[in-house]
């Protein structure tokens, strides 16, 4: 483990800030449906800092995985080895995700609109002849539908934060506050969108994403410029606490030993 005293806490990357902010959004004891990449890093960071009892569920069917180093894929052996239980893929979706047993789902986005709807399918052209073919839905539509709440982690820029999605892969609040109820979705929808600039939360009345917090150094103007619609901003946006030395030390150790069974301490 990196010594705390050697951690450079004066500088950090935007990704580090996003990851730390995402980790902080995970309460201890919560059951968290974890995708690979930043969500997995954030969840493992949380489990090693303030949330030792966080339950990690990976869609590969590993319930309660406790990897001692960061896995490289959603299906690494270390997840099966350390899980409380390994179940089939149909079971993880049907018995665990669908009935609403998962507290928090993480989603990424290639495009995001003001109601937290997400596109990860195609960009430009039409569906059959797209300009860019993205990987597609994966587990996201049902994570978005069924988790008690969703955390979206995505870099903020006008290509991503768009006025209108090219394709709705996963539903946020649809076109407003009543849509999820009308459609019979049981999960609560996006509770928070964490970007490299700050944090957006749905307005309690309209469900429109509203900038409620800025990361250190970021400004409202930057956030507006990075958003493809007229961004709603809270009356007095808060400020994210910078990453602590402890958070950075753990995070950098996790990243440095990613996929490395031997380097794990």
């Amino acid at each position: 483990m990196t010594e705390l005293s050697t951690v450079d806490t004066a500088t950090w990357t935007a990704d580090e800030m996003m990851t730390v902010a995402a980790a902080r959004a995970l309460g201890d004891g919560a059951v968290c449906f974890v995708g690979i990449g930043l969500p997995s890093t954030a969840a493992n960071l949380a489990r090693r800092t303030h949330a030792p009892n966080l339950v990690l569920v990976y869609e590969s069917g590993t319930l309660g995985a406790k990897p001692d180093f960061l896995p490289l894929s959603i299906g690494d052996g270390v997840l099966a080895e350390t899980a409380d239980s390994v179940v089939s893929v149909p079971e993880v979706f049907n018995y665990w995700l669908q009935p609403g047993r998962v507290d928090i789902g993480f989603l990424a986005a290639a495009q995001l609109d003001r109601y937290g709807n997400i596109n990860t399918t195609v960009i430009g052209g039409d569906y059959a002849n797209p300009r860019v073919r993205l990987p597609g839905a994966g587990g996201a539509p049902e994570i978005a539908a069924s988790c008690r709440e969703v955390i979206v982690v995505v870099r903020q820029n006008p290509r991503t934060f768009v006025d209108r999605l090219d394709f709705v892969t996963s539903l946020g609040y649809g076109s407003g506050p009543d849509d999820r109820r009308r459609l019979g979705l049981r999960g609560g929808g996006p509770r928070v969108v964490i970007t490299d600039l700050g944090v957006l939360e749905p307005d309690p009345a309209t469900c429109e994403l509203t900038l409620t917090r800025l990361h250190p150094g970021a400004t409202v103007e930057q956030a507006r410029a990075a958003t493809g619609w007229p961004l709603a901003v809270a009356a007095e946006p808060g400020s994210t606490q910078p990453p602590t030395a402890g958070e950075l030390a753990v995070l950098r150790h996790l990243e440095a030993t990613k996929g490395n069974r031997e380097a794990a301490s």
Binding site: I36, G37, E59, S60, G61, T62, L72, S73, I74, G75, D76, G77, L79, A80, V86, S88, V89, P90, F93, N94, L97, Q98, T121, Y127, A128, N129, P130, R131, V132, R133, P135, G136, A137, G138, G139, A140, P141, E142, A145, S146, F167, V168, T169, S170, L171, G174, D179, R180, L183, G184, L185, R186, G259
Partner: protein, 267 residues
């Protein structure tokens, strides 16, 4: 009842041009070796089915084996795009690729329905998304007791399922453990099945987390050590992540891809 035969024979007998083929394995146990044999035998017009088409499907698509893809997430896990998949969809190279696209939950339930001998499955899925606008295979269904509207998807019934597993006994019973994915469902949903295994042993001694596919539910078993590489076989190998990373560059360029396949797979 399973017979244990060499891989080239199994592929030749079980998989024909135009078949619907499901090769499953969720990160773990992906049947790369069998996929390469399909490429070597130059199958054409396949409908490829898989929740997470990754590098093996990128290779099959780039080598012109596929006419259609039924899937829920097409990427190089943890790396990024599948360039051959994208080239086929975006530019029709080497041939147009028809897509039928679902969510993971939808695909998993389609296999469950297939394995269960049912024509469809019911789930809470796809609601409010555009996925249903692109296929007739996502439909509403009303609960006859509560009136609630849910989503129905048709059973998957591949002509052939192909999976990799740790081992078989001499009677052809197959044992796998670690992340078990949707392999049992894929095998049971399919008309025919091929399982490649790391080894054949006298006795499948019970192991924690292991499931057994009985020989009487399988068509053919082929011995293929390291048959999941660059994926992995829990207890036998580890995931070759360097290869997955390297694939990004290899597969970006049509010529480099073709050369690589000639060099590493075709000969």
């Amino acid at each position: 009842m399973a017979v244990i035969v060499p891989l080239h024979q199994a592929v030749a007998e079980l998989i024909h041009d135009g078949d619907t083929v499901a090769m499953e394995g969720f990160t773990h146990l992906i049947p790369f070796g069998a996929g390469h044999e399909i490429i070597r035998q130059r199958r054409r017009g396949l409908t490829l089915v898989r929740m997470t088409p990754d590098v093996i499907y990128d290779q099959l698509i780039g080598m012109g084996c596929a006419r259609r893809l039924v899937f829920s997430w097409g990427g190089n896990p943890g790396v990024g795009s599948l360039h051959r998949f994208r080239d086929a969809v975006e530019n029709g190279w080497p041939a147009p690729l028809e897509l039928e696209e679902h969510s993971h939950a939808g695909m998993a339930n389609r296999y469950v329905a297939g394995a269960s001998g049912l024509p469809f499955a019911v789930l809470r899925g796809y609601t409010g998304t555009d996925l249903a606008t692109q296929t007739g295979n996502i439909k509403p269904i009303t609960c006859p007791f509560t009136g609630e509207v849910l989503t129905a998807v048709p059973a998957l019934r591949p002509d052939v399922a192909v999976v990799h597993a740790q081992r078989a006994d001499r009677a052809g019973n197959v044992q796998l453990w670690g992340i078990i994915g949707v392999q049992k469902e894929a095998v049971l949903a399919a008309e025919r099945s091929l399982v490649t295994v790391e080894e054949v042993v006298d006795e499948l001694d019970p192991r924690p987390g292991a499931i057994v596919l009985p020989a009487w539910a399988l068509s053919m078993v082929s011995v293929l050590p390291d048959g999941s590489h660059p994926s992995y076989t829990h207890g036998y190998s580890v995931r070759d992540n360097d290869f997955y990373l390297a694939w990004d560059a290899i597969s970006r360029d049509r010529q480099r891809f073709t050369d690589w396949m000639e060099e590493h797979v075709m000969r």
